[in-house]
């Protein structure tokens, strides 16, 4: 399988990934370890919460989005990691049994000034459930290696 490099990420729609089924058990298990708030752990307490029913931790949803990106393309990309996330917006709760699709766009791609053998690709990822409801939007860069010896000899 060919490895995706910086040149494979021109601005525009990159792809749609999934579906990823999310079970009640994994929602409870993540919440118990990382986000043990009643609305993520307890059906009755969750009904009384503003989210009106059991929902996954927002950090769980972000982590699932990461996994969908790794399975979808990052796993076969010359990825060198990411410096951070510009913005995450949690728009609607992730419910047990939801099937997720992830739409990924490239917002911007530029060659790194400090490491010209790499580029910085800015992604916008939007995850939605089977009903088409948007659950979370994420804007985040990934550092990606350039093809062959692009940028070599320019320092870095």
């Amino acid at each position: 399988m060919t490895t995706l490099t910086f040149e494979d990420f021109p601005p525009g729609r990159f792809g749609t990934f999934g579906p990823r089924h999310v079970t009640r058990d994994e929602i409870l298990s993540f919440a118990a370890e990382f986000d043990p708030q009643p609305m993520h752990l307890d059906e009755e307490a969750a009904k009384l919460s503003l989210l009106k029913g059991l929902s996954a931790s927002g950090w769980h949803l972000c982590s699932i989005m990461m996994r969908m990106m790794v399975d979808g393309f990052v796993g076969r990309t010359a990825s060198l990691g990411s410096p951070g996330v510009n913005e995450v917006r949690w728009l609607a709760p992730l419910r047990p049994g939801d099937d997720l699709l992830l739409d990924v766009d490239v917002m911007e791609a530029r060659v790194s000034r400090s490491r010209p053998e790499t580029g910085i690709v800015m992604f916008r990822s939007m995850v939605r459930n089977a009903a088409g409801q948007a659950l979370c939007e994420m804007v985040s860069p990934i550092i990606v290696g350039r093809r062959g010896d692009a940028g070599a000899g320019q320092g870095g």
């Binding site: 708030q37 982590s63 990052v74 990691g81």
Partner: protein, 160 residues
């Protein structure tokens, strides 16, 4: 948890620390971020990270874990004083998440939170909106992690 009226810009909470073992790093990565530098020591050494590195989402999730534990401590203290409990609303998101230094196997990260901004909501007068900067500092005193989270905080005047 505090009500909006109990919070001030600049207020700081120490959230406690967490040691990222190789085992925990690999377990989280296998589930959510199976990139080679999060799964294998040798691959980590060859990467920009210079060692087996925790997924950034693992670091963020641990920060959340410590935030929830701190909120529980505050709730317990409030209950002991016989005070009414403030229940925060669901967060609409965060901005400016920075993975500044890699978190490597064996690193201990000390987390803290500082209130950066607060305002009332015109459309929802029973809620205030608070921006909180959560940071993580490693055992060498280096800032490794930072994120600006948003919270909906109930106002004291809103209830009985």
């Amino acid at each position: 948890m505090n009500f909006f009226e109990d919070i001030e810009v600049g207020q700081r909470r120490e959230l406690g620390s967490f040691t990222f073992t190789a085992e925990a790093i690999k377990k989280f990565a296998a589930q959510f971020d199976p990139q080679r530098f999060h799964l294998d020591e040798e691959e980590g050494r060859k990467s920009l990270f210079g060692g087996l590195a925790a997924s950034g989402w693992h670091v963020g999730s641990v920060c959340m874990k410590l935030l929830v534990a701190d909120a529980r401590r505050l709730a317990k203290e409030a209950a002991a004083r016989g005070e009414r409990l403030a229940v925060w609303g669901p967060s609409p998101g965060f901005r400016e998440l920075r993975w500044i230094k890699p978190v490597l196997a064996g690193d201990t990260i000390r987390f803290a939170s500082v209130v950066e901004q607060m305002r009332t909501s015109d459309s929802r007068p029973q809620w205030g909106i608070v921006q909180i900067r959560n940071t993580g500092i490693n055992q060498r005193g280096e800032l490794a992690f930072s994120v600006l989270g948003t919270g909906f905080v109930p106002r004291r005047a809103a209830g009985p």
